[in-house]
């Protein structure tokens, strides 16, 4: 890692600043906390837009600027800029809400304006244990109905962790979906299971045409890449169209990967991480047939949602990758050049709790959710 790490984080409590804070307008309401932070490039402020979120996991803006937020407990909420409402779920799959399981990611269909379809992932109960599944439903107003289970990952585990489950549509309209190793690490190398894989699906949850293993017997046709541990971040690199991925390592060895068709990302054969109880895992850090990460974090930061920033609100951040992190409760900003991380800055460390996801709003601002029992939605805007 040839990174020049700079940590310029300064947090200044708004109350201490007194009159230097501009007056609040619009949806800047009573709940709001304003703090001012200085990044290497700019100074920004942090608003808490709403609280009362119980372990929010995924979020996605709709074309009408409303923000969908999942809660791990199985509820789906919507924030319209001023108030948080609960979506009425008139027919919704039964969700296994234990451990890390629950209602997980959400994203609208690329043509949501016409078809009102949203996609969500969740922990699907099995007769023994659970697995990661994808479903679709129609959102009309604040009512979700006509849900349909599109895909149920084939795994072999009765643990309640490592579901993966981030979803993202690419520019061709195919849906990338991550599935964790479900705590059975060697399954990440088995092509007859979906555990530890990145999947590429049609909008109907079927294997996308051109997937690398469609003609291999004993390999599942949904698989796009394999050898992943617990991937919980997906973002489209606007400069290249590639899908970038974050994944949790064991103890150390968190990774940032560019997903390529048919590639093996090595878990658990190669990793930069160690066993939790000490001791090495696998064969080391490199293997001639396995892909190297773009970046790895040791010690672990526990990276979750990631997003490439493309907005106008923070011109100096354009093209940067933002990674939400659970362990150090921070937001990582990385400058990328030629698919390499050339600078990393750690923001907001410990300020808002375990950050589960980060996304860019239609206003070009950055939005965060904190995965806590008293979780909240935050917005970063330039000062």
């Amino acid at each position: 890692m040839h990174l020049h790490k700079i940590k310029f984080l300064l947090s200044i409590i708004s109350l201490a600043l007194g009159c230097s804070i501009p007056p609040l307008t619009g949806f800047a309401k009573a709940n709001e906390i304003i703090e001012r932070f200085t990044s290497e490039k700019i100074t920004f402020k942090l608003h808490r837009l709403t609280k009362n979120l119980d372990h929010p996991w995924g979020m996605a803006f709709l074309p009408d600027d409303r923000l969908l937020i999942t809660e791990r407990n199985g509820k789906l909420k919507i924030f319209d800029g001023s108030s948080l409402k609960e979506i009425t779920l008139t027919d919704f799959p039964d969700i296994y809400t234990r451990g890390q399981g629950g209602l997980l990611d959400v994203t609208p269909h690329p043509n949501f304006s016409e078809n009102n379809l949203i996609y969500f992932t969740y922990s699907h109960p099995l007769s023994s244990g659970s697995t990661t599944a994808l479903a679709q439903a129609k959102l009309q107003g604040n009512v979700l109905s006509n849900s349909q289970i599109l895909f149920i990952a084939k795994t072999r585990s009765d643990t309640s962790h490592h579901y993966g489950s981030r979803i993202k549509f690419d520019r061709q309209g195919f849906l990338f979906m991550t599935v964790g190793d479900r705590g059975q690490r060697h399954n990440a190398q088995r092509l007859d299971l979906h555990a530890g894989k990145i999947l590429r699906l049609t909008e109907n949850g079927k294997p996308a045409p051109g997937n690398p293993f469609v003609n291999h017997s004993n390999a599942l046709p949904e698989i796009y890449s394999f050898g992943h541990r617990n991937p919980q971040g997906l973002s489209l690199n606007p400069a290249t169209g590639d899908i970038w991925l974050s994944e949790h390592g064991p103890r150390g060895g968190d990774e940032l990967n560019i997903i390529q068709s048919g590639k093996n990302y090595g878990w658990p054969i190669i990793t930069y991480g160690k066993e939790y109880i000490g001791g090495s895992i696998g064969q080391g850090t490199h293997h001639p047939n396995m892909s190297q990460p773009i970046h790895q974090w040791t010690p672990s930061i526990a990276p979750a949602g990631i997003t490439f920033y493309t907005g106008e609100a923070f011109p100096s951040w354009q093209g940067n990758l933002f990674t939400s992190a659970l362990k150090f409760k921070l937001l990582v900003r990385q400058e990328i050049k030629n698919n390499k991380v050339v600078l990393e800055e750690r923001l907001l460390e410990g300020e808002v709790g375990r950050i589960r996801a980060v996304t860019q709003g239609p206003d070009g601002l950055l939005y965060l959710i904190s995965d806590e029992s008293d979780g909240a939605l935050y917005r970063l805007s330039p000062l």
Copy 2:
């Protein structure tokens, strides 16, 4: 009950008959047992076509004359007239195989010859307990793939019984599906749950147009009729196009009903049955707003699959309703006139075990499956 019950059942062991049995041909193989029975109208023989079935539950002929047979343990088998093969299930939902739960009914799409689709019902695991669900998959050769869960019944029960789950396409191409009360009897009267209901669905598992409660708030749009206990038989009356239904009563009070849109069949408000431990249930046997059965059996026979006979092989049985029964291990033949049972005859009592389903073959013969751990497929043919 104004029935004239006649029981002419005579069983004569084939070995005792010696040379009077015609020589076996075709798929009359070593496993076969032939016995001769005399009904009121005719004399018929019984062949055991295959054994090695583990609690078979549903069966359906394909247009190519092969017979699909479900086993409660989750296997799907196919009998081609001479041998029984197991269908390879390449992507199949996880099935809750406990108690009365498991893989249950099966039926081909009305246009199976063109689309190769089959429909099946099964016990779908929930995070607590299970429910009745409908899925679709493509059968090509002996391989079933592309399975898709179409409908998951909304119930509230963690018991492992009263799934209902018989399915039948009507002449308009809508799929009728039964759901039992799941052991929570009062749920049969609640229109916000699917328990204790007959549903009418499109081929995609959606509410069929014209269903009676589509415009009622707080009522589920899939519901066609309600107040059912555990309906496990469905057949289309060829004379009228009506859907007939059998259902298990509590202790006594098994029912045969003609299903009409929006009607309440009374369970557990009215019933001819009693509590297992003694004592009455509900308000009696009649209620002005609730439908009366066409027929009721007290004591219970435990009726499962039913079929109207329309074949040429038994001309004197044409238009008769056959009901398979678990408790007395028999096949009930009923003559129907103007939607009334005018004669009932009990056949095969105790001869082949608990009979779970009866269907008519493309050859006009009747086929039975016995729901035992050493279950078998039988055929009735004229002697």
